[in-house]
């Protein structure tokens, strides 16, 4: 896929933020010296008085967001996901989720998007941390259109939300006819043999894996599970009933993330064999973002092989 076909979803985020800012003066942005990395420069240029930069201070970042919500604003608190979730987790829990403050947390450059900057800058624990917190919606959009819609829905839905965005280039999956809903999986491909559940930057790879599987005579259903909490239990149970096996794929540790969330549903409803693909509980070695996805076999081929291995193990039961 050529670079020109790939899109950095931060641009869709940034454009929608300005659009929302025009529509509603309560929309404000809070940054931690992250105007550039979160692509909120256009918002600052258009609404200089409504961008609050608290400096390099993440606890304060999230607390200030909660306070702005208290004052009637709709704050988008934007920061590198690793620092937002790791450094300010207690503020996310107490000031935002438990207080039910109308704060929109936006974790930028999540997963391993920072590549060779290393594990300090990777955010492969953020699903586990955030989805463990009550009253916090967790969403990871897969492409520019889904990003646009998720940002709009976040602004218009009262209550706390964590949007997990990336900077890695992704191809277009959806057009304007798509209708993003919190808590609803999107079925991108149907099949009866296995279901691949992914989100974020890996949805495209899940679809490519399904094409590879078809050449092996295996028809895979592909679900984009953009919302990790609240989870689309109906789609998961249907996938288990109708396809009998599930492979989850996430740019996250396999502990406590999307795969864990799906498994929690599966073991209590329709137990079927699963494979959980992601980062296998290690700090990543040095390497660029794409290289790391290859390294951890979060590739069409890696997903295909896991699905085939799963099919074989079922055949031997």
């Amino acid at each position: 896929m050529s670079e020109s076909q790939l899109h950095d979803c931060r641009h869709a985020f940034s454009d929608m933020l300005v659009e929302l800012g025009e529509e509603d003066e309560r929309i404000v942005v809070v940054n931690n010296d992250s105007v550039g990395s979160s692509n909120t420069g256009p918002f600052r240029k258009r609404f200089p008085n409504r961008l609050v930069n608290v400096g390099i201070a993440e606890q304060n970042l999230v607390g200030v967001g909660a306070g702005l919500a208290n004052a009637g604003k709709i704050p988008f608190v934007c920061s590198a996901s690793c620092f937002l979730t790791g450094r300010a987790l207690e503020q996310i829990k107490a000031d935002v989720a438990y207080s039910n403050a109308n704060v929109k947390l936006v974790g930028i450059s999540s997963g391993m998007a920072y590549g060779a900057l290393g594990p300090t800058h990777h955010s492969i624990e953020d699903f586990a941390w955030t989805r463990a917190i009550a009253n916090l919606t967790v969403v990871a959009p897969a492409d520019p259109e889904e990003t646009r819609q998720a940002v709009r829905v976040a602004a218009h839905t009262r209550g706390p939300i964590f949007l997990r965005l990336s900077r890695m280039g992704v191809p277009v999956l959806y057009d304007a006819s798509y209708n993003f809903e919190i808590g609803k999986a999107s079925r991108l491909r149907d099949g009866a043999d296995v279901t691949i559940i992914a989100n974020g930057v890996l949805v495209t790879r899940a679809l490519a894996a399904a094409e590879l599987l078809a050449t092996h005579g295996v028809q895979a259903r592909v679900l984009n599970m953009a919302t990790v909490r609240p989870l689309d239990r109906d789609a998961i149970v249907a996938a288990a009933r109708e396809t009998g096996a599930i492979v989850t794929v996430e740019e996250h540790t396999v502990f406590g993330g999307l795969g864990g969330a799906v498994a929690e549903v599966i073991v209590q409803t329709v137990p079927v064999p699963m494979r959980l693909l992601g980062v296998p509980g290690v700090f990543a070695p040095t390497g660029g973002a794409e290289w790391l996805l290859e390294h951890f076999r979060l590739t069409p081929e890696g997903i295909r092989d896991a699905a085939l291995e799963l099919q074989q193990s079922r055949a031997h039961v």
């Binding site: 606890q59 607390g63 200030v64 967001g65 702005l68 208290n70 207690e90």
Partner: protein, 280 residues
Amino acid sequence: MTLTAGAGQDVVAELRRRATEIRRRDLQMVVDAGNGHIGGDLSATDILATLYFGVLRVNPERPDDPERDRFILSKGHCAGALYTTLALRGFIPVDELHTFMAPLSRLNGHPDRNKVPGVETNTGPLGHGLPVGVGAAIGGQIDGATWRTFVLTGDGELQEGSNWEAAMTAGHRGLDHLTVIVDRNRFQQGDATESTVRLDPLAERWRAFGFAVTEVDGHDHAALLDVLSAAPLEPGKPTCVIAHTVKGKGVSFMENRAEWHHKVPSRDQLASALKELGDE
């Protein structure tokens, strides 16, 4: 009821009467619950009484009024003093106080804004109130609003770095509708603050972060009323009021004793405490 600044002796007498009532009901409540943080409650009581009965523009009938003053109790473990004050000010029924920390009571050991009207944000972990107060003040600043934000912190709590992140932002943005009140009782849970990790020179530290600072006797209602009504001390600067207080104030056997941070009085101790406080 809202009293105006610069009011006379009758106002101060009313604040004193309210403070005594808060202390008496809070002690009773903590004994009933078998739980609470009475030492810090008593050091903050006169500040709370002055705010709610003399300073804050709040209305129990409209706790979400966008133009209300905001009060944030950063030392959330002193919820007992806050609930008692809110009850006497009409936000919750006084006869609900006996449910404090009982199963399914909305009066949790730390305040929950979604259950208790008048609570602005859920506190409990320390160092959370000031960043939220700074955010609220920035929101008001963006709108050019007239309402003010008051944050009451403990002194030991100032060991949390998040306070100083927020203080930097407040100073940088010149949030003159923000007032931080430090309940300077010089004790934290385990020991004196200065034996644990030194806070002094506290006033100089706040000044260095861009605050206009004043120090008052945190049990002198007239002094508290004057300074809190007059805030900001300087236009263009956030205000810090260091209120020198006594942990356990008003009950002789509790005063300045670290163990009363969260010790619960016996029935006999309650009786002697109430006797000391009198009926005022």
